[in-house]
């Protein structure tokens, strides 16, 4: 039945939120298509999600030395992530506080201070304003530079993963990650990890949530979307991706644990380092890990993939940010992580498998991008609202979580379920309607 009265553009933000409360029903497995295509929802999302939660902005190994810095995007704005001369990592809005010029235009570098190209105000890499040309004369005696420090961004890190937020009231990062940390230890804390080179960047005409949704819980699509890989024999069988666990915790985080694995997916010679960094339970999971795919709410997806390349098994560990540009466009930014103490040959092969599978040219990646683009187009505009098009997220609704898994969170002993998406959209809805 047509409900032409529904028209989010017409609605006030409050009305739109009321509409979300009614129409979005994660626990029923019912998600309106318009969540992926409506500009108004996107605008609210920007304020209620991206200006409120913790967002990934890089890895500590990208700025190992004093005065190293990188510039990164935080919710659409360039920020400088700098390691001060005191070794502390800080986030600064990359905008001069005088009259708004962008301070730094390099992707990375090493600098203890930044000089503005407009009027030459100078800022220490801790944000302090330390120089104003001709200050006394032109601003008079009682002018106070200290009020002109760069806007600070809260930055916190967990196991080398750096997150920032515009929200001064945000809960501590570790609280936000909660029990999910147990799994992040395996992802990023199992050994000393380092990022290989600069991140890769490319643009997809897709709503960002499709990427997060795909990684947080969609092992099911591998059989078909990535059927070509099966054909090539790079993964054993079409249902290969079914075996294992699907796990989620509070705040929308979730992952899929591919297991068991007859082979050890990581450098043998680092077993001691792994043991020293993980609990016995975590190490046990690591030893049986075939792959691990998940998403830290809202938009940092991660992946440990173990495939056969040139007849040799090799794993690669990567994280990827689905950075929203507009309701139907995102920048995908990917980082490859490797064990710092792995052999250079292992690092080379790990990079090789990453580039082959999940870089912009990746033979997994490319088929996903096609799907993301087409879904976004189908969900755009007014019709999906008028016709109340709803996607089906009921997979596995009949399943009960298992109790005996050694890790935390809600755990299902089969990856083919959409429980994680339901959990993702539930937290998304809570934020949107808060």
């Amino acid at each position: 039945m047509m409900k032409t009265n529904i028209n989010l553009e017409e609605m006030s933000q409050q009305d739109a939120i009321e509409y979300l409360k009614e129409s979005v029903q994660p626990e029923m497995g019912a998600i309106p298509a318009s969540l992926l295509g409506d500009p108004k929802i996107y605008d609210i999302e920007h304020k209620k999600v991206f200006l409120k939660t913790w967002l990934f902005i890089g890895h500590e190994s990208e700025i190992p030395n004093k005065n190293d810095f990188i510039t990164r995007d935080l919710a659409g704005y360039s920020v400088i992530i700098s390691r001060g001369s005191d070794g502390e990592i800080r986030g600064l809005y990359n905008m001069c506080t005088h009259r708004g010029m962008k301070l730094c235009r390099a992707d990375a570098g090493n600098k203890s201070s930044f000089t503005c190209p407009y009027h030459g105000f100078n800022f220490k890499n801790n944000g302090d304003c330390i120089g104003v040309p001709l200050q006394k004369d032109i601003y008079g005696g009682d002018f106070d530079k200290s009020g002109l420090g760069l806007h600070k961004i809260r930055i916190e890190s967990y196991k080398g993963l750096l997150f920032g937020t515009w929200n001064d009231q945000a809960e501590p990062l570790e609280d936000f990650l909660g029990e999910f940390k147990w799994y992040l230890d395996i992802l990023a804390g199992r050994a000393e990890m380092e990022v290989v080179g600069p991140p890769q960047r490319f643009v997809i005409h897709s709503n960002w949530k499709i990427g997060a949704d795909n990684f947080v819980g969609d092992s099911y699509h591998t059989m078909v979307t990535h059927g070509s890989i099966v054909k090539l024999g790079m993964v054993p069988s079409a249902t290969y991706s079914k075996k294992g666990y699907q796990i989620h915790t509070t705040n929308g985080h979730g992952l899929n644990l591919g297991t068991p694995n007859p082979d050890f997916a990581f450098p043998e010679e680092l077993k001691e380092e792994y043991k020293s960094n993980l609990t016995d339970e975590q190490y046990d999971v690591l030893c049986n890990l075939k792959n691990m795919i998940g998403n830290i709410f809202p938009n940092l997806s991660f992946l440990i993939s173990h495939t056969k390349v040139k007849g040799q098994l090799i794993s690669n560990t990567s994280v990827r940010l689905w950075r929203p540009i507009s309701v139907d466009k995102m920048e995908v930014i990917t980082w490859l992580l490797v064990e710092k103490n792995a052999s250079s040959d292992w690092k080379r092969r790990s990079r090789e498998s990453f580039i082959l599978t999940f870089s912009p040219s990746g033979i997994f990646e490319q088929d996903d991008t096609e799907v993301f683009t087409d879904i976004t187009a189908a969900a755009s505009g007014t019709m999906p609202l008028v016709k109340q098009l709803t996607f089906n997220y009921t997979m596995g609704l009949h399943r009960k979580p298992v109790e005996d898994f050694i890790g935390p969170g809600v755990v299902y002993d089969d990856k083919f379920t959409e429980a994680n998406q339901r959990n993702f959209y539930r937290y998304w809805l809570d934020l949107m309607t808060s």
Partner: protein, 169 residues
């Protein structure tokens, strides 16, 4: 200007034009047969430096970093019925420009620099993508034919403005 050098330049221009035509015509086997078994095929990530220091691309991370085996995998994949990224294929047009012969040993080895602009139109989308960059190629002469033995593609963007690299550069 030496006639021999011109002839050689012409020969590699034509080689690159033929390569472009085969790729634009979705003749992956034809293209693959132009590659040398020892080929190194890479595309580094481009970055923004502080100033004019070069190179302004990464030596550690790449969008392509393939040898002949990996290229074979890509080609085989594209021929399956599941390579959704290119079903149906993009309409591509690889315009080759500014071909310069940097080194040349007849019947042995050649180093060629050229510019490439890829126009990409996909499905019913009325917009197109443009991928611009420079090719640093090396050719080796094998059984009477020049084969591509090395390619480095320097793309002119730090963020690729195309949905994927399901196409070759």
């Amino acid at each position: 200007m030496s006639l021999e050098k011109m002839l050689a330049t012409y020969e590699f221009e034509q080689w690159l034009y033929l390569e472009a035509k085969l790729l634009d015509d979705i003749d992956f086997d034809g293209w693959f047969s132009m590659l040398h078994p020892d080929i190194s095929y890479s595309m580094p990530v481009r970055v923004n430096k502080e100033g004019i220091e070069r190179p302004d691309y990464s030596l550690d991370m790449f969008a392509f970093y393939d040898d002949i085996e990996l290229l074979k995998i890509r080609v085989d994949r594209l021929k399956t019925d599941y390579a959704w990224a290119e079903i149906p294929p993009s309409r591509t047009r690889r315009s080759v420009n500014n071909v310069r012969l940097l080194e040349y040993t007849p019947n042995e080895k050649a180093v060629v620099n050229s510019y490439l602009t890829i126009y990409r139109s996909r499905s019913t989308d009325i917009h197109h993508d443009l991928i611009s960059g420079e090719r640093q190629d090396e050719f080796t002469f094998v059984d009477g034919e020049w084969k591509l033995s090395k390619r480095v593609f320097i793309v002119d963007q730090t963020t690729l403005n195309t949905r994927n690299l399901a196409i070759f550069v």
